[in-house]
């Protein structure tokens, strides 16, 4: 394991160039370019604000509903879009895997880091919304990167597992959109946790993104912090990271033979 980590450290420039390639290529020949990073969560938010906030009247913990949903969508969009890219990273780069040796984990890692550019762009828009709605600045806002970091770890954990499985079973490719679509509903993005009947709230805490979104919102808007949810979210995140890493390590030797 130590050797593996040191090899990755020595190849960090490859990680940089692979992530750079993903970023450069993402919006080539797209007229709107990087604006897509904002447009996706923005239009989702507008749709949610109309149907769920206005028509269905779903509560939003005293925060304006557009801000409530957009703040969660910033992280969720990164999670769902990047998870699909990380999960497909090995298969999409099969020509590299079969022709050049380098630590294989750099491919999912580059996809996870490359997606952060979109997150930064959509976060800038979030800052604009915070100003527009006159949200009082508070020091806890400086803690938000913790939850961004947790999302990256989660994407890596689940993503490495899916990417390695995808090499052998292409079913994974079809599973990922399905997973993220369901995830959108079993994560408190559209609604606050308190909107659910009490007996369901515990189940929701098993989803690590619940703690991420709750913690992220608490940093931005203040309010009650449920430490149990945050704790279980970190436990699940780190367990998934461990499982993902171990599975990836145990299968990476045969990637070139079966991809």
């Amino acid at each position: 394991m130590g050797q593996w980590v040191s090899e990755i450290w020595h190849s960090r420039e490859i990680l940089y160039f692979l992530a750079w390639r993903d970023v450069k290529v993402r919006y080539k020949q797209a007229a709107l370019g990087v604006a897509w990073a904002v447009l996706q969560p923005l239009f989702t938010m507008i749709t949610f604000a109309f149907f769920f906030g206005k028509l269905a009247g779903i509560p939003s913990d005293g925060v304006p509903y557009p801000l409530f949903s957009y703040s969660a969508l910033v992280l969720w969009t990164y999670f769902s879009v990047t998870l699909s890219q990380v999960g497909n990273s090995l298969v999409a780069n099969s020509s590299l895997i079969t022709k050049i040796y380098f630590p294989r984990v750099l491919l999912p890692a580059a996809a996870a880091f490359g997606g952060l550019l979109d997150l930064v762009v959509s976060s800038v828009f979030l800052i604009g919304m915070l100003l527009y709605y006159h949200v009082t600045p508070r020091w806890t806002m400086l803690l938000t990167p913790i939850f961004v970091g947790q999302t990256v770890l989660l994407v890596m954990g689940v993503g490495m597992l899916l990417a390695a499985l995808n090499v052998r079973y292409r079913d994974v490719k079809y599973t990922i959109p399905f997973l993220t679509q369901i995830g959108l509903f079993v994560t408190p993005i559209i609604y606050p946790v308190t909107f659910l009947p009490h007996r369901f709230q515990g189940w929701l805490a098993l989803n690590p993104m619940t703690g991420v979104i709750q913690g992220f919102r608490a940093c931005l808007f203040g309010g009650h912090v449920d430490w149990d949810v945050l704790g279980s979210s970190w436990i699940v995140t780190l367990s998934l990271l461990l499982i993902g890493t171990l599975h990836f390590r145990s299968t990476e030797r045969v990637f070139a033979d079966i991809v």
């Binding site: 420039e13 390639r21 450069k24 080539k28 050049i100 380098f102 052998r168 070139a256 079966i258």
Partner: protein, 294 residues
């Protein structure tokens, strides 16, 4: 002299068909339902390499020849750590660079210049090194005019020139090259061969697979002929080539007397130069082939 590459009892097994048949969970589940306790159907296996052992001294240039499917590329893939052996061990000293496909890892949407950085980095160069050698690489490739054009607009020849240009500036301790001369025009082939000559002068170890026997003979001091996963002959390059070509001559004369095969693989094969058939190029007089440089 120190040993640069050590290969001990190397074997590699591939399972035929296994990849296609059960790569879907559905198929595996179906099999499990049909025969829940039964053994798996025996898979057809192919030994791409069987108990191969050899050592290469530092600075040696070894040409590896053999027919298609003999196991040459599998050997190179194991040496470059792309795939792992089923059994046996491989050790290589120093930085190993493998050029199994010219321009592997190029991205269509990126420009020539951007691809030099990407490819150079993946092949093991530091960014500083690429910065320092950028001009030399561009000049070697002869792509000065098109260096800021996305390579999706390049011809295949241009692409391989750029790819080889990067590889020629890697300065590895061990260079592994698989059939790069199959692409590019005569002028560029000449450039490639002289670049490999320079590598030899620098005390680097080179393993070179090619069907271009003239180039192999010209570049390599030592030859290795691989057939059916085994080292058939290992010795001075000229002798190995003679023995290899001798095997074709006897196979040809044998097949003249046998009834003609219907699969088209019999004596009707043509050895047109430049074609990627398993007949060696320049089979008549390798030393007079145009790729020779002195």
């Amino acid at each position: 002299m120190t040993e640069s590459i050590t290969v001990e009892n190397l074997s590699k097994r591939y399972e035929l068909g296994a990849l296609r048949q059960e790569t879907q969970l559905r198929d595996q589940l179906a099999r499990l339902l049909r025969t829940p306790f039964g053994k798996r159907a025996p898979k057809e296996v192919l030994w791409a390499l069987r108990d191969v052992s050899f050592t290469v001294e530092q600075g040696e240039v070894v040409g590896i020849i053999g027919r298609n499917g003999a196991g040459k590329s599998t050997l190179l893939k194991i040496l470059s750590k792309i795939t792992f052996p089923t059994s046996g061990r491989v050790r290589a000293r120093g930085r190993v660079a493998a050029l199994l496909e010219v321009g592997a890892g190029f991205h269509e949407e990126l420009t020539g210049r951007e691809n030099i950085f990407l490819n150079g980095s993946i092949m093991g160069m530091k960014k500083k090194e690429v910065d320092a050698k950028l001009e030399a690489i561009v000049e070697f490739s002869g792509m000065q005019r098109f260096i800021d054009t996305p390579i999706k607009r390049y011809s295949s020849g241009m692409r391989s020139r750029l790819g080889f240009a990067v590889a020629a500036h890697l300065e590895p301790d061990v260079l592994i090259v698989d059939e790069v001369l199959a692409v590019g025009d005569a002028v560029f082939q000449k450039k490639c061969i002289s670049a490999m000559h320079d590598l030899r002068g620098g005390g680097r170890t080179v393993l070179f697979v090619s069907h271009n026997l003239a180039a192999v003979e010209n570049l390599c001091s030592r030859g290795m002929w691989i057939a059916q996963g085994r080292v058939q002959l290992d010795g001075p390059m000229r002798e190995v080539i003679e023995a290899y070509m001798g095997s074709f001559a006897s196979a040809d004369s044998a097949s003249k007397h046998s009834p003609r095969q219907t699969d088209g693989k019999g004596p009707a094969r043509s050895a047109s130069p430049g074609s990627n058939s398993d007949r060696p190029m320049g089979i008549c007089r390798p030393s007079r082939a145009p790729a020779r440089v002195s």
